[in-house]
Amino acid sequence: MLYSRTVGLPVVTLGEAAELGTVAGLEMDLARGRITGVRVSGRGRRTTVLPWEVLHALGADAVLVRSAAGGEIRKEAVPKVMGLRVLSEDGEERGTATDLAFDAEDGRLEKLLTDLGEIPAGSVRGFGDYAWVVAST
């Protein structure tokens, strides 16, 4: 699954088929190499983070969740993932991130896609407000 394809998908509860909102972005933990949650858009910049554990399915057309409980409200803007520069640990630019591929079944990060090629998730060291940082090869 690609990060860009998930953004904008409706988030629907499994039991009541209630639409909670749309996907504003994904939360990730690079140290564990996983997607850890889904940010669901609300009013204004405010988003709610639903942990990966409450997801039932992340499909091509919708995200189904078991419950909206345990959602954590975030006031800060969703971090920019695509279009962000990529830097090596040595401080050299390695192009621009175009997308992030992950396993929709278990949330495992697979690779970072850039305009210069693909970088395996294991080589990604950091993701911040300025850049993706990847291991120098």
């Binding site: 830097l87 090596s88 640990e89 040595d90 401080g91 050299e92 630019e93 060291r125 950091g126 993701f127 911040g128 407000d129 300025y130 850049a131 993706w132 940082v133 120098s136």
Partner: protein
């Protein structure tokens, strides 16, 4: 051999953590007394309106000096300004504008900039010098800019740097050529040490 860069070009370069956050940008590069190494950077905030930061970056905390960013482990490695500024006043002002003399007493020219190695060494590879005609064979103009390797026996005294005369045979016109010249000059140093 790591890439070479001019210290003046480092100003404004972002300081980025391995987590990808830009925490500052380089204001000035600070060298040790003999201008052999980078000892750290003074910093300013990011953005057009940002002023000087009350923090500095000692070289020991640098993860890597790269062509597009200075990488650090995290925000916590930034130190109080005194960690590098004391040395800045002692050395930085002396290097730029200093006269370069050879150990045989010839004047090479005046230091315009300091050339440092990228990566983790922090070594000064040489200087960009506004050179006098005499040391630059084949030059028609009176003065021109040349890159000059920093000899290992260099001494700094007052407003002058003293370099080995042999270093003037390894000048270059651009940084790419200079990297080769520095390597050639170091190789020559090693040969002379060996019997």
């Amino acid at each position: 051999m790591s890439a070479l860069m001019e210290a003046a070009r480092l100003s404004g370069r972002p300081v980025v953590t391995l987590d990808g956050d830009a925490v500052a940008q380089v204001k000035d590069t600070v060298f040790d007394g003999p201008a052999g190494r980078v000892t750290g950077f003074t910093l300013s905030g990011r953005g057009l309106l940002a002023g000087p930061l009350r923090q500095s970056l000692p070289w020991t905390a640098v993860h890597a000096l790269g062509p597009h960013a200075v990488m650090i482990r995290g925000r916590e490695v930034l130190a109080e300004p005194a960690a590098v500024v004391a040395r800045k006043e002692a050395a930085r002002g002396r290097v730029l504008g200093a006269r370069v003399l050879t150990d045989t007493g010839a004047e090479v020219g005046v230091v315009l900039d300091v050339v440092v190695e990228s990566g983790i060494s922090g070594r000064v590879a040489g200087f960009l010098v506004s050179a006098r005609d005499a040391v630059v064979p084949g030059s028609r103009r009176r003065r021109r800019k040349v890159y000059l390797p920093r000899g290992e026996t260099l001494a700094v005294s007052g407003r002058a740097l003293v370099i080995p005369a042999a270093a003037t045979r390894f000048t270059a016109d651009d940084l790419a050529e200079f990297a080769d010249q520095v390597a050639a000059y170091r190789l020559r140093d090693e040969k002379e040490v060996l019997p």
